[in-house]
Symmetry: C2
Subunit: 125 residues, 2 copies
C-alpha cells in the first residue's frame, strides 16, 4: 500500500468533526442534512467533511433524488481501514459528545422536505 494513502486515511480521521461523523454513520446511513442536524454544524461543514472521509476511502456514497446518502463502506475499504474504523468505535465508546450526537440522530426526523431549513432554524444546544 502506498504511504500516501495511509497518510490520507489518518489525516481524514484526525479531526473532531469527522470522528463524530464516523461515529454517527456507525449507527446508520445518513444524508448530509441529518449529519448537520445531529452534530449541529453548518451545511458546508457537514458536506466538506463527509467528502474528505469519502475521498479517503471510508465512505460509500449513494444518491437518491436530491439526497446524498453516506454510509461506511465496509466492503470497499482496503484491509487495514476497517481496523481503523473499529479503533474509532472503541475509542469513542462511552464518549459523552459521541453519545449525544447519536441520541440527537434518533430524535431527528428522517430525511424529508425542509430538513435543511429546520436545522438552520433550531439553535439546538
Amino acid at each position: 500500500m502506498l504511504m500516501r494513502d495511509l497518510v490520507k486515511a489518518f489525516k481524514a480521521l484526525s479531526d473532531d468533526t469527522r470522528l463524530r461523523i464516523l461515529n454517527l454513520l456507525l449507527e446508520r446511513e445518513c444524508c448530509v442534512c441529518e449529519v448537520m442536524q445531529a452534530l449541529d454544524i453548518s451545511q458546508t461543514r457537514a458536506s466538506r467533511n463527509l467528502s474528505v472521509l469519502h475521498d479517503a476511502g471510508f465512505l460509500k456514497l449513494r444518491r437518491d433524488g436530491l439526497w446524498s446518502l453516506y454510509s461506511i463502506d465496509s466492503e470497499g475499504m482496503k484491509g487495514s481501514y476497517s481496523a481503523l474504523v473499529e479503533a474509532v468505535r472503541q475509542g469513542l465508546d462511552g464518549n459523552g459528545l459521541a453519545s449525544r450526537d447519536k441520541a440527537r440522530l434518533s430524535t431527528a426526523e428522517r430525511v424529508g422536505p425542509g430538513c435543511v431549513k429546520r436545522c438552520k432554524g433550531e439553535g439546538d444546544e
Copy 2:
C-alpha cells in the same frame, strides 16, 4: 476516552515521516541519530517527529547517557492504540520506502560516537 486524545493520536499518524519512524521502531528500539540515518532526514526533523509520536502516547523514551532511545510503548498504550499501530504495520507491509528504511537501519552502525556527524556527511540517496 476523550475525543481530543483520539484526534491527537490520528494527527500523530498522519504524516509520512512519522509513519516511517513507526515502521522503523517496529523493528527495534532506536536513538534519534539512527532514525535520521535510516530515513536520511535532518536531526531536528527526527527529534521533533519522535516527540510528536511520544506525546501522542505511542512511544516510550529511555535515556542512556547522551542517547535518547525511543521504542514502541506496547504496555503503556491505551486500548485502541495498539490496533492503530498494527494497522500501520499491515498498511506498510510490502511498501518500498518502508523496506528501504529498514534495510538502511540494519546497515547503519549501531549507536556510537560521531553518529550525527556521519549522517550529516553522507548524502546517502
